[in-house]
Symmetry: C2
Subunit: 197 residues, 2 copies
């Protein structure tokens, strides 16, 4: 009885085309230009069909957000593997984070934009956990190596994260040109030096 299988496959294909089309619209016109009707037109179906695959518009955005987090985690993991030295790992991850944001602006805007992030971050607790592990571990190693027992690794983790996010988010909204990767490198270098004290 391969009939139902075929139907599921067909349904999956429409779902895929919705996401594909939506992504194309976002790339060409930005997030705020994305509408259900535009998607429906592009995939040559009527509007309610879109609602057969996604509960609402937010569900589509959440899907992209999830994709974005998965890609980012992969990039960060790959960056971390490039070295065994914790300080170098933190530098490489900052580099990867910067690259991700610059080459996937649409993802980044969605993931950390005001619209979604508040809802998304809490739902993505496991993903947040990955981030924590990824960053906390090298921080802890540096603190241990230098016998820095006063510093809280949790606070340091948030500091590291904030420095990266702050730089990139400012870069995104007010790309002044002066704000290049040197600033991030400087900030991360300062952060690491402060860990070693």
């Amino acid at each position: 009885m391969g009939i139902t299988e075929r139907r599921i496959r067909q349904k999956e294909e429409v779902r895929h085309r919705i996401l594909e089309t939506a992504w194309q619209i976002v790339r060409e016109e930005g997030w705020q230009a994305l509408s259900i009707r535009k998607i429906a037109d592009a995939i040559e179906y009527s509007v309610p069909v879109v609602y057969d695959h996604f509960e609402n518009k937010e569900a589509i955005l959440e899907d992209f957000s999830r994709q974005g987090f998965e890609l980012l985690v992969k990039k960060l993991q790959a960056a971390k593997k490039k070295s065994d030295d914790p300080a170098t790992q933190l530098k490489h991850m900052a580099d990867a984070y910067w690259q991700f944001a610059m080459h996937n602006r649409e993802y980044y805007q969605l993931m950390y934009g005001l619209g979604m992030a508040c809802c998304e971050m809490q739902k993505c607790a496991p993903k947040e956990q990955i981030f924590t592990d990824l960053v906390m571990e090298p921080i802890q190693r540096i603190l241990d190596k230098h016998g820095n027992k006063e510093a809280s690794p949790c606070i340091k983790y948030h500091t590291y994260w904030s420095v990266m996010h702050g730089l990139i988010s400012i870069k995104m909204v007010a790309d002044s040109g002066e704000l290049n990767k040197m600033v991030l490198d400087d900030a991360i270098a300062g952060f690491i030096k402060n860990l070693e004290k």
Copy 2:
């Protein structure tokens, strides 16, 4: 001939009521709940009257954004005046920035939210200049005092700004509780220490 004067005053009053009402809606229901029709209903005028005072909705938001920046600059200036020591000034300003963001969430969301900031920051070049002066000067003084000639004050300025913004913006979207003012203090302390090297 005080007639025209009175009419100007009346017109100004309606404009003021529009802003007042809009602000109330934002406080009670958030930015995304603000609509022209709601404003019109609340001030007991028809919709087009709103457009006699503001070219469009964005103009209303820009007005709030301007208010926000003015208030923030005042707070930063006041914080800076509390001390003559440049490091203490940077700390006090970070403190004031944090306080501003926490006690004026609506302003902060608008000023640095994805929607406006891109358009706003460029228009507000003079305001940006104030920020630059406010922060760049103590940074330069610290660098000079410690004979740190390699470091670029421009890069340092952006670093300082990014650390603050990053922390607060993450706090805004994912208020985890762990992310408190201690993190900011830690980050700023590290930043200053790195200036003195």
